[in-house]
Symmetry: D2
Subunit: 260 residues, 4 copies
Amino acid sequence: MPETTDKLVIAGREFNSRLMVGTGKYADYPQMVAALEASGAEIITVAVRRVNISDRNKESLLDHIDLKKYTLLPNTAGCYTADDAIRTCRLAREAGLSDFVKLEVLGDEQTLFPDNQELLKAAEVLVKDGFTVLPYTSDDPIICKRLEDLGCAAVMPLGAPIGSGLGIRNPYNIRIILDTVKVPVIVDAGVGTASDAAIAMELGCHGVLMNTGIAGAQDPIAMAEAMNLAVRAGRLAYRAGRIPMKLHASASSPITGLIK
Amino acid sequence: MPETTDKLVIAGREFNSRLMVGTGKYADYPQMVAALEASGAEIITVAVRRVNISDRNKESLLDHIDLKKYTLLPNTAGCYTADDAIRTCRLAREAGLSDFVKLEVLGDEQTLFPDNQELLKAAEVLVKDGFTVLPYTSDDPIICKRLEDLGCAAVMPLGAPIGSGLGIRNPYNIRIILDTVKVPVIVDAGVGTASDAAIAMELGCHGVLMNTGIAGAQDPIAMAEAMNLAVRAGRLAYRAGRIPMKLHASASSPITGLIK
Amino acid sequence: MPETTDKLVIAGREFNSRLMVGTGKYADYPQMVAALEASGAEIITVAVRRVNISDRNKESLLDHIDLKKYTLLPNTAGCYTADDAIRTCRLAREAGLSDFVKLEVLGDEQTLFPDNQELLKAAEVLVKDGFTVLPYTSDDPIICKRLEDLGCAAVMPLGAPIGSGLGIRNPYNIRIILDTVKVPVIVDAGVGTASDAAIAMELGCHGVLMNTGIAGAQDPIAMAEAMNLAVRAGRLAYRAGRIPMKLHASASSPITGLIK
Amino acid sequence: MPETTDKLVIAGREFNSRLMVGTGKYADYPQMVAALEASGAEIITVAVRRVNISDRNKESLLDHIDLKKYTLLPNTAGCYTADDAIRTCRLAREAGLSDFVKLEVLGDEQTLFPDNQELLKAAEVLVKDGFTVLPYTSDDPIICKRLEDLGCAAVMPLGAPIGSGLGIRNPYNIRIILDTVKVPVIVDAGVGTASDAAIAMELGCHGVLMNTGIAGAQDPIAMAEAMNLAVRAGRLAYRAGRIPMKLHASASSPITGLIK
């Protein structure tokens, strides 16, 4: 199967790119637009709070995004309760944004870890309400299974805390999540550099979502291109079937366990 | 500086691609040719032992490589002494192959680690003899400095043993080597998958050389393309300036040291 | 503060040893008794399900444990719902075992990950019911904070899945948990060898609980002694204040971030 | 085999402790003496340069070390050539110190990496000269084999650069060295905290040598005790036979390769 026919499918919608990017923290809109372009992303997430929904005559983030080109994924960044997140999603839908939503319910202003109890409550209501829900969650296989059972269209476990740049801190949990759920697994948060994105894909994840890793780089546009290439590289490598790890070429068997 | 003007320069020769690939272990020549093409490599290394130097009428590896397109880098794979390696390089030059050589002197048939004592002897003779010498060596900063002092055009420390697929096992040493020598540092050996290649480039290395990682993959052509993208991704990310690593986004300072 | 006065304090009770051990998976009772002794542990956890509570005339695990010497910590292993775990704790208390309990509510028979939603429900009821609750949970700072807020006497995040032997897979999360809660943090599950236990203590954890790592070793009694020494070594090293990590001795500043 | 009969044997001499410690960098002699005592070490290494060999009437490091209790291992710290190291060893022997020597020939003042070419030259001369030679070297299996072939009584590969505190940066190479040589393998340099020492022993090394990790800690005496316990813990765990690593307890097979 060539790269061009290897689609990401979420809730029946097909995408060529497996990289999803955010729209925050850029120096200005032209920089953001150029970075989105360089990333090759087709799905762009925007914080509903940052869109002037009530007064669309004022300048808005959305004025700068070509909505014919990108699929908008409104998110509930800044929500700390299920109620707040549900209200935010409904507001976004009423304003005509989308019913395809990235659901975030944060538990802590400092670490920005998800509050999975509130997340599950919000996901249940929103799925029943007809939303296509992509929840940002912990790398916890049990929570991911619950989210799938509630009808979420994908699960988005964190690789590391939002904005940390630490990469996939627990690939073992991501591997178990991949063994546990059938919906797409999108690593969301923690990617700091290109190899982190490649590693997520090599693990077998279906996509990667990032914002700070690109927007916070010294040259966000170059980093966006790096991430574009890295996600494709990691996906190709996953599909190509890597060589086994061995202590050296003439070792008779693959390495068993980590060597410490 | 856009990607197109970011050249690899070795001994005054400029290359667009930072990925160098080997020619061994492929199922057949057409597969090799397709993988070379997909890798985007400009420098191709061939074991002098595998070229029918003495009888160029017989079929040879070289019949399958477009010598207008690729720069040939003959290597001394299979040599275990300085004398043998020196003889092999001279043979290659006499046969018109090239005076641009990858110098390997192995210390052990099992692990294929370099014998750095013999390597230094061979490098000294070959440099004086007018060869452009690229030595495969350990990730040892002192040896790398000696090789540079002898006049080698680059140093090629291993990431991990040949054929192991273990990636860059000691990025700390690679970092110290980058601080120590002025010639290009090319990671040679150990790359198992795309992220390994990206990591080498993110460390600041100037290039990556690999063979088994591509030729031994289940789909060598797809893996060659993955490596092509990964090397470019890693280089771009290195140049783009990644975000610092922090325990979480609101941590006041970058992480100091590994967390164990 | 010498080692002898560095006590572990849980809910006002003082312990000299920071190692807690389980009682399952031994070849026979004499082996278990010898391993408990070698471990130096003062707190011993037993699955309520394995004690013949209803008929104390039959042979029971408890017949082999010197209850004057060890503090018993009954656990709810094998419970998959809050109700089941609550019932089990009450049964244990009625049978005179203890009101000091290790609360486990599992989410999955395969991976033995905790079900944190059910755990929170059970913890709330049991704390109100007068139990001293030590919950086995994920390495999720938000859940750990909720458990503390509910009145749990400690939190016991997993280092890795039960029985995996993978060590502390995400020391970053453990570090954040240590920054987040004030109750003792006991790493529970995942320890495979001595250095894993030392690492948990060096991170600043207050204790470690393990079972398979000892009982499943080829020589459980020797491994129990190894864990005894390792927990003490790790705690001492944490208190002694280790040297900073640097690329080499004359590097002017500590390493910032992981090197990849 | 109980811990008490598990001896370290070097050149026919038996030792109960597998921890060797240095004598530099302490605040004062009483602190050094207390740390040596707490470490449980039987072999103490001293830089010949720091002993007033020429004028034994002046105060000397040796005045503070109980030579009935400890085996002295003079070292050639500060030597950058084979000649210098050979001269230093002979001086030590003439002064009656010992013919049991730790051979260091450094390649670089900054990183303190060994110069393996000079090391091999010095080792050859000193072995012929009747010294029992323990060489500090790189984690390079080929060099370690050469040193064994020359007649060295042990090999002492670095875990990481001297004074770096980075632990065992390349356990894969240490494992290969253990497969390659028959003499004892002592990890020398790089240990920063207790778990590093435990890991060295769990790999199967025969001993650990350290100085900065203890002397540079905030409380060197507590850290010396931590290292004492950690080396014993790691050795016991190695001999006890740890459980295999698995993704989770019910995984049917051990983990193959690193998960990235």
